[in-house]
Symmetry: C2
Subunit: 165 residues, 2 copies
């Protein structure tokens, strides 16, 4: 019976070691997958605090030029972060790629955004966008027809306005 | 000792069950992470065979309109798939989001593309893009200034041209 006891204990010990290994592997896989989803693009530079509340990161993917007249940026908002109210004279398109975000046009309710959502913002429409209270949010922002203007920044989105969700 | 034996066996049984659960969880996490990276957008429709070689999928994210004058599509190329030689009268921007792809301008060498790469295609430049031989490839394609035209399709990329990589 001693042997049996030892065998049982050894099986348990081996399984514990294997279990630990699997658990570590699972965590590694999760980390890798997060890197895949969050790091298709580098985080870029801190968003300018005069136009953003909280922490956000902007990576320019396409700089403006006279031929394509388009600016494309990848923007990562930490939870609670958002940009000021603003207007795009030529409009903008948001392609949401990760997390949960908010979008609001002046006078309308805050909308919740998820990965895969696409938002068309028409020229002249006052609005803001950012992360939800508890989740990071990433979108690609596409400013088209930049010869007509890019952005006019307005007032910050107050905590009261943001909490209206 | 009978108790000890039973305890050892029970520990082993519980650990085996727990181990199985963890393994299943790890697989689920992996599946989910793949979904995140490959399925931010639905696959969409099969790309038209008259303009593509092999299997590709096109999901329109933004349809054309007179205000934003922009078309955005998510395109998934299965390994070996590519579009025909073609020209965009107003240019196009590719944002590579997954896998390994190829891009070639007429008269130049084939370039390899990876997730995170961005390609600016100038108006009038004859070119093609697609997956590498062995990896699926996904990009977001952005046609700007569509009032100047969207695409002029030309000849298929032959196996000889494609294999020149």
């Amino acid at each position: 019976m001693r042997i049996v006891k030892n065998t049982g204990a050894k099986i348990a010990a081996v399984l514990i070691a294997f279990l630990f290994q699997i658990t570590v592997k699972a965590q590694t896989m999760n980390t890798n997958s997060n890197q895949n989803t969050t790091s298709v693009f580098p985080k870029g530079d801190l968003a300018p605090p005069e136009y953003f509340t909280g922490t956000a990161w902007v990576k320019t993917l396409v700089a403006n030029d006279d031929t394509l007249t388009t600016i494309i940026s990848n923007v990562v908002f930490e939870p609670g972060a958002r940009n000021n109210w603003h207007i795009h004279p030529a409009g903008q398109i948001l392609i949401c790629t990760e997390g949960i975000g908010y979008f609001q046009e002046k006078g309308k309710a805050i909308q919740t955004l998820h990965a895969g959502d696409v938002v068309k913002i028409l020229p002249g429409v006052e609005h803001w966008h950012g992360a939800s209270h508890t989740s990071r949010f990433t979108h690609i922002a596409i400013n088209v027809n930049t010869e007509k203007g890019v952005v006019n920044w307005l007032m910050p989105v107050t905590d009261v306005e943001y909490s209206n969700k």
